[in-house]
Every structure is written in C-alpha cells, then in structure tokens.
C-alpha cells in the first residue's frame, strides 16, 4: 500500500508491506525499515522501527492525525493515491481572491475588538483581545489584508476554532 503523509514541514511517501512473512517491512522515500507496531490502549502505540523504540500518543480529529512522541506534537494528513489525485484535480479549478478566516486559537471571552469591517490591516496588527484563564491574549493579523467581516462582538464567549473575522488578501 502506498501512502502520502504530510506534516507542516515534511511529506513522506510510504510503502507498507505486510504480507505476514517473518518480518514486516516498509519503505520510506526509498529506504527500507523493519517495523513492529502494537496498540497499548488509550490511543497509545509502541512502534519499533529497525528496532528503535518510539511510544506514540495518537488522536484523530477531523481527518487529521495528532501524534505525540516524546512530547513533540505533529499534525499529520494521510492520503492514499486515489485521494491524492482527486485533491489535485480540485486544486486546479480553484481560483479567486484569497480569503482567510481568523479562528479563535483558544476558547475565551472577547474583551475588545480593534478592527472594523472594510479596514485595511498590516501583518501583525492587533485584531482583537481574547481573555482566557485570567490572561489577555492579543489576536494578530497573519497577513496585510482587508477586514471582510467581523463575526463576533465584544463580550462574546467563543469556542476553540470559532471563526472571528474574515480577511481578504487583495
């Protein structure tokens, strides 16, 4: 089986052979490894890769795999060849201006909104202040954009990943 695994920085192409022979092997970017994976329960796995031992904590959320090793977090996307081809086709037909949704990085209370609809903001400019766990957190613009829509108001309680503002790159 061929699989594409993407993290923020890397892409790995995996070929997994599990023909139930003596040793399981897999190929990553042209190098062969033996492997042994065992589920420990509670989303924990023990992986031996060429006898190197790794303990993984793994949760799947919305098609993304959140994997933790030695307290390093990785967010991974897994695709087989079929899925990848469909996605590439979709990409080609996408056009239009780039729209960006600013989402709440933490749940909290909207203390102050610094931007109005239609306004042009600089990259790094303060958009709004979220209070959580008694600390204030300034949410900044990730690009120089125009505010298309402000989706919350002051004193709103917001959930994790709740859309706060819509920005358009012009």
């Amino acid at each position: 089986m061929k699989l594409f695994v993407n993290s923020e920085k890397n892409e790995f192409v995996l070929h997994i052979n599990n023909n139930n022979e003596q040793e399981n092997t897999l190929q990553v970017d042209n190098r062969m490894y033996t492997y042994d994976l065992i589920a420990l329960g509670f989303g924990r796995y023990s992986l031996l890769l060429d006898n190197h031992s790794y303990t993984l904590l793994q949760v799947k959320k919305d098609d993304l795999y959140h994997v933790q090793i030695d307290n390093n977090h990785f967010v991974l996307q897994l695709e087989d060849e079929h899925k990848r081809k469909i996605k590439e086709l979709f990409k080609k037909v996408q056009t239009g201006p780039e729209v960006q949704i600013i989402k709440a990085p933490i749940p909290g209370l909207v203390i102050k909104i610094n931007a109005v609809e239609g306004e042009l903001v600089e990259e790094g400019g303060g958009l709004l202040i979220l209070e959580a766990m008694k600390m204030e957190n300034l949410i900044k613009a990730s690009c120089s954009c125009r505010i298309k829509e402000v989706m919350v108001k002051e004193k709103d309680s917001v959930q994790l990943n709740q859309p706060l503002m819509k920005l358009v790159k012009e």
Partner: protein, 494 residues
Amino acid sequence: MFKKILIANRGEIALRIMRTCKDMGISTVAVYSNVDRRSPFVCFADEAYALDGTSSRESYLRMDKIIAIAKKSRADAIHPGYGFLSENADFADTVVKSGLTFIGPPAETILLMGNKTAARKKMIAGNVPVVPGTEEAINDTVYAKKIAVEIGYPVLIKAAAGGGGKGMRLVKNEDEFDEALDAAIRETQAAFNDSSVYLEKFVEESHHIEFQILADTKGNIIHLGERDCSIQRRHQKVVEESPSVLLTEELREKMGRAAINAAKACNYINAGTVEFLVDKHQNFYFLEMNTRLQVEHPVTEMISGLDLVQEQIRIAAGKEISRKENLSKFWGHALECRIYAEDFHNNFAPSPGKIEFLRPADGPGIREDSGIAQGDEISLYYDPMLSKLIAWGADREQAIRRMLRALKEYEIAGIQTNIPFLVRVMENKNFIMGNYNTGFIEENREQLFEEKSELAMAAAIGAALARQNDSIQSFSDKNMISEWKIINRKRNLS
C-alpha cells in the same frame, strides 16, 4: 496542634498542603467550585464542601462562604495556599476575628507588603535598594507617561495589589503606553478586584532571585537560601532552581541579610519570600515580598530537607521552627518545571480540554506535585498550571539531566502542554552553562521555538501503521462474526 485545617484553594497546591496535613495527622477540609467537583484535591480531602459558584469571584474569593464552611466543619485553621485570598489582609483579619487561625503572617504585615507601592516606600526608608519607579499608584495617564520618560524606557507597569505576573506589562516606548496601561488595569481588576498599578524601570539582563524566609513567634528568623526564577514567559516563572549559579558565597550572605532585614522591617511571622532583581554587575534591588507560600517552594524543600508547609503549620500553632540557623550548605541541586496547559507555539495560549491519558514520570531524583488525574477536564476558569515537576541531583548537571529525562517520559494526551518547551530549555546550551537571565526566552527564541522534524518520520510511520492496525482489527472482528454465522448456519442445518 490543630486537629483540622481548611484549605482555601484548589489544584496542586490544595493537594500539596493536604499531604503535609495527613503526614502530621491533621484532618483536611476542601472547598470547591462547581467545575472542580471531580478534581483530585476534592477526592483526596477528608471532607469536601461545595462553594456553589464557578468563577473565582463566586467561589474561591468568597470569604463569607469559606469561613462559614470552616465553622460548620469545625476546622481550627485555614491555609490559603498561594493566589486567591492568600495575600488578602481582610481575609486574614476576618479569619482571626472568627476565632480561627490564619496560616500565614498577621493581617497588618500582609497589608503592608501586599501593597507593592507601600512596601517599596518601607524599603526605601530602611535603605534597602529598590528598582527606580513610581512611589505611588497611578491614577493619571498623562502624569504616568511623564514619569515613564523620567525613569527611561523600557518600563514595567505592575499591579499594586498582587503578583504572579498578572496585570504586568512591559512597555518599550511611549507609543505602546496607552494600550499596555489599559490592559494592565483590566487584568489587575479582574485578578485582584483592584485596578491600582505602578511603574518600575525594567532592568535588562537581570536575574530574578528570591530568598525563602521562615520566622516564628518565638523570635527565630532564618533564610533558607535563594531560588533563581529568571526563566519567565509572559512575566510568569516557568523554571526555578536552587542554588543560583549567579551568586557567590559573599553575595548570598549579603542578600540573605537584606532579606532578613526586609522581613524584620515588617515584623514578619510565618513563611515568606523576598524577591530581588540582580543586574549584570551583581547589584541587587528589592522587588517585593510575597507574604505566603511560593509556587516554587519545593525547590527549597529538596535542598534543605525541610517541609515548608509543615513549618508554616508549626509556626501558626505557636511552635518553634525546626531549624534555627540560616541555610548555607545545600543538599545538592534542585530544579522545578511548571507544567502548564498551553500551546507554546501559539504564544503560550491556554489549551483547555480533557486529559484522555496520563502517565507521569517517576524514578530517581524525581518528585511531582500534581493536581490532575486522567479523565479530568481542564477548564478556562483558573490558572492553567497543571503540575510541578521537581528534579534533584547531586549537582546541577545531574538535576538538569534528570529533569530532561522526566519531561521526555511524561505522557499526557488530550490537551497541549508546555512540556516540549521545557525540554528545549533543559537542552539549551546557555541554560546548561548557567548563562541566562530574565531575557532568556527572548534571546534564545530560535532554538526554543524551532519546528522540530527529527521525530516527524517516526510520527508519520506510526500514524500510517496505527490506521492500518485499527482497520485490520475491526476487519478481523467482522471476519470472526461471519465465521460464527457460518458455524451457526451449519448447526441449524444439521
């Protein structure tokens, strides 16, 4: 000795205090807010009473409810922990007036040292060097800006009422002043119900070094050496250690003497901490005195062999402290890392959620003071600190290696924590060499926040294999069922 103590706090520190109570054969009473009903400290207490409220203001800051519960449960004394009501003179006063013992200094001392501007004045009067800044709380923004220019940027805006980094803002130039002041006022109002702030010069490349004080009612007053708390994020301590690599024997003695003088100046009784800034020329300045147990007290416990909570309880019960001389010889070296529920790649933003799996670290040299259990829901209502990991070593190098090992061993799933950040601190060459100050995080940004890819391949392979493993398992379950069906069909036929 007391028979029963009410702990007016939550989380790890409530549990920590109860442990010493159990060791001393004293019964414990927990009070809890609605969201804390499932918390380990409630389960661990001998008795637990609901405060019927969710926010701090409705629960852990409600003196009336807490004192009523103390009466109802027949507690003799109240331990306030840190934060919440621990530095509230009114509370200390009301506790005493209700016929109970407050485990902490007298109300007058709290009042004096709790008001950071009043404390500064007292120190100036006593010739203890203080950081340049305003002598009074600020009411007037225009005046404040003038003072800031006089002191010279960068300046710190600080809450007059409290500590813990809340309400604190670093202002690098005049343009930032208004916004920072607004935010500081809002934060201190929310945290301490008091909006007074003051200005202080920001001493660059400084160490934050504090001395632990113990003073009893019999006239004994000692210090237990220093803690270096210079590794801070968002003006809150993250890593603490004792002894400090910066102090010479001579400087330690000088600062220790100043710390004891500061404590004497306010007639201090019980455990307290005198905080100093030490600049690169080894000049030290009084910052503030915390009139309570400090979060990082375990570091001092490890190198002194004392139980500071036990000393607090002994002092409050009118007994002598169990040691009469200053601590000058330390038993090895100790480090503490605070484990927070936060996403360090996102400016240390809180990361609430449910703890789906928990396997803490253990082994030689490792102590943990934890407030959490698997299955706990970490809410946004309180401070995001989950636990404190403490490592002891015969020397600093061993303590760091052991801390690093424990951090890597620690398994927690469901929420993000700052553990990967702490790992990087322990791996940082400057930290290992002892070459750091309060600017550490800023100066080592690149290494501390670097996206690591060394384990990415193992993660990728693990995810792919786990997906396959889980689907094979459910597939073979199905096979099992269909085989059984066949067997049953055959049986039915025969």
